[in-house]
């Protein structure tokens, strides 16, 4: 087992019985902690208080909870105003509507103004499931990472989402954190290091590098385990900060393995993998494969079957590694 001992991953990492919880739960816990530390933290929500998990904050600090109704555009713009007056607003909705519907308010009123608003996007990815394509945000990282000054984070499990939420509160400037609806493995621990802008190597390997973000980091680890049994040794990087991306860690790994596969629950066009490609193309062009949504919309179904159908499951990661290994 080539797991990084300093990553302090859960002992039952690969077990089928591993505890599963939605990453949004980590936001709920984290934003309450952020609220305890900083009295200026306010939570703004647009008629999705329970499902985004902003409810925990509403219960802890009712006087600092602001309800907008179905008004995501004012959610972003009002929050910008609050931030100008010294507040640290966390705005929460589904990723499709924030940063989807209200993108230009985020770009201009928040980022161009350089004010301290944290955009918390729930229900990202096709794993939203039966609600279908209209609610499955698979473009959110592309539209946020393209905005100057924006920090973009896609945490891999509940613990990491909690840490990202707390860290976002202390970082000056706009931050986007995406999280998911579905329960996914809780495979990091309280001790797993987390720092915005620093990718964590979860598994060491020498044949190929898998750079993943979000709950699919766990999928990448499962794929690496299968491949290891076939003699292919993969490095697995938890690349949670999509912007600013940790070029050093990625380049160091690519220099070693000379082969890179990116894995994300997002359009491959403009997503995390695109940024990895930009970094590698600039100084270390190596063969790459991209696991993610291949320029398609999602659809209704249960989360597992959609992940499989759109080629983002364990078998798809294995196939991508095999393919990249064959390339020169």
């Amino acid at each position: 087992m080539a797991l990084n001992p300093k990553a302090y991953l859960a002992a039952d990492l690969l077990a089928k019985t591993i505890l599963k919880k939605p990453t949004r739960d980590g936001y709920g816990d984290g934003v309450v902690e952020a609220g305890k530390k900083n009295p200026n933290v306010v939570v703004c929500c647009a008629d999705l208080t329970e499902s985004t998990r902003s409810l925990a904050f509403k219960k802890a600090f009712p006087e600092r909870f602001v309800q907008f109704g179905v008004s995501e555009q004012s959610l972003a713009a009002v929050a910008a105003g609050m931030a100008m007056a010294g507040k640290v607003p966390f705005i929460s909705s589904y990723a499709m509507f924030s940063p989807g519907r209200n993108w230009e308010m985020i770009r201009t009123n928040i980022a161009l103004n350089n004010v301290n608003v944290k955009i918390m996007g729930a229900h990202a990815g096709v794993s939203v499931g039966p609600d279908g394509a209209t609610h499955q945000a698979v473009e959110d990282m592309a539209i946020t990472r393209v905005i100057p000054r924006m920090t973009v984070i896609a945490p891999c499990d509940m613990h990491e989402t909690r840490k990202a939420t707390i860290a976002a509160a202390t970082l000056a400037g706009p931050v986007y954190v995406r999280f998911a609806r579905e329960k996914t493995p809780v495979f990091t621990t309280n001790k797993t290091p987390f720092k915005i802008g620093r990718a964590e190597t979860f598994r060491f390997g020498k044949h190929a590098t898998i750079v993943a973000c979000g709950p699919l980091v766990h999928t990448a680890l499962l794929a690496a385990e299968v491949l290891a049994k076939k003699g292919i040794d993969c490095e697995v990087i938890d690349n949670h900060t999509v912007k600013p991306m940790d070029a050093r860690t990625i380049l160091a790994s690519a220099r070693k393995t000379r082969r890179v596969v990116t894995v994300e629950e997002h359009q491959v066009h403009g997503g995390m993998g695109s940024r990895v490609a930009e970094i590698l193309a600039a100084s270390l062009p190596v063969p790459m494969e991209f696991v993610g949504m291949q320029d398609r919309f999602g659809e209704s179904g249960n989360p597992e079957e959609l992940i499989e159908h759109f080629g983002m499951g364990v078998s798809a990661v294995i196939a991508a590694v095999r393919k990249v290994m064959k390339r020169k």
């Binding site: 329970e50 209209t134 209704s300 179904g301």
Partner: protein, 286 residues
Amino acid sequence: MAHAHDKEIARLEEIANDIRKSIIEMLLAAGSGHSAGPLGMADFFAAMYFHVLHHNPKKPHWEERDRLILSNGHICPGRYAAMAHAGYFPKKELLTLRKFGTRLQGHPERERLPGVETTSGPLGAGLAQSAGLAYAARLDGKKWRTYCLTSDGEQEAGLHWEAALFAGKYRLANLTAFVDRNNIQIDGMTEDIMPIEPLRAKWEAFNWHVIDCDGNNMQAIIDAVHEAKAIVEKPTVIILHNIPGRGVSFMEGKFEWHGMPPNAEQAAIALRELRTLGGRIRAEHE
């Protein structure tokens, strides 16, 4: 005002009840989805598909058809059920709702199911598309009308009111909007979450003709649509005051049923209530 015959009203009420039963069966089979909204609007869907709309279920792309835009896409089980009962597709397909590969997506998609007209789910965008349809129809001198159902939660969205301004400015009398005024949204009652009253005065201020209507009264719905057609100088909005979850006692009026399907036991109770019309008649198969 044109009154439909009592017999016609009774027929439509029976269809509305069948739509409600289908909604319960669909949601039970899907295991997720929205209960309150579709049940509250079952009378509306029955009125539209079986009395108001000029349409041909066998030719969903017929150019002269009236357009019905469902802006609050999450209540699509009501629309799907009405469409199946009207003959757009087999009723047994209703049980594929929200499942992988289905044409009946969790939120309706124009590219998948002929007859749904537009993709919806993200709230507040239906009225603008309806205004575009109505504007284009008038440019071409077409007789077909555009109807758009919006929810009361959508009255909180900016885009929706931009469209209201547009339709008011251009006096789109061939456009009729409806508001599913059931007083609920996800987090609670609309007047607690984001008050939208006085709603009538808002629409009047945007240069619309406004009709308040009992949205669970078939005759009232049909009369209101007739009135809207008679107003030729501005667009009309019909505020359908209705009870969310209508027809299922334990769902009625409860925002908690916004996005929850019944479990098997609840579905059985719901279907029994619908079969007996809330105990007013005896079920045939008890």
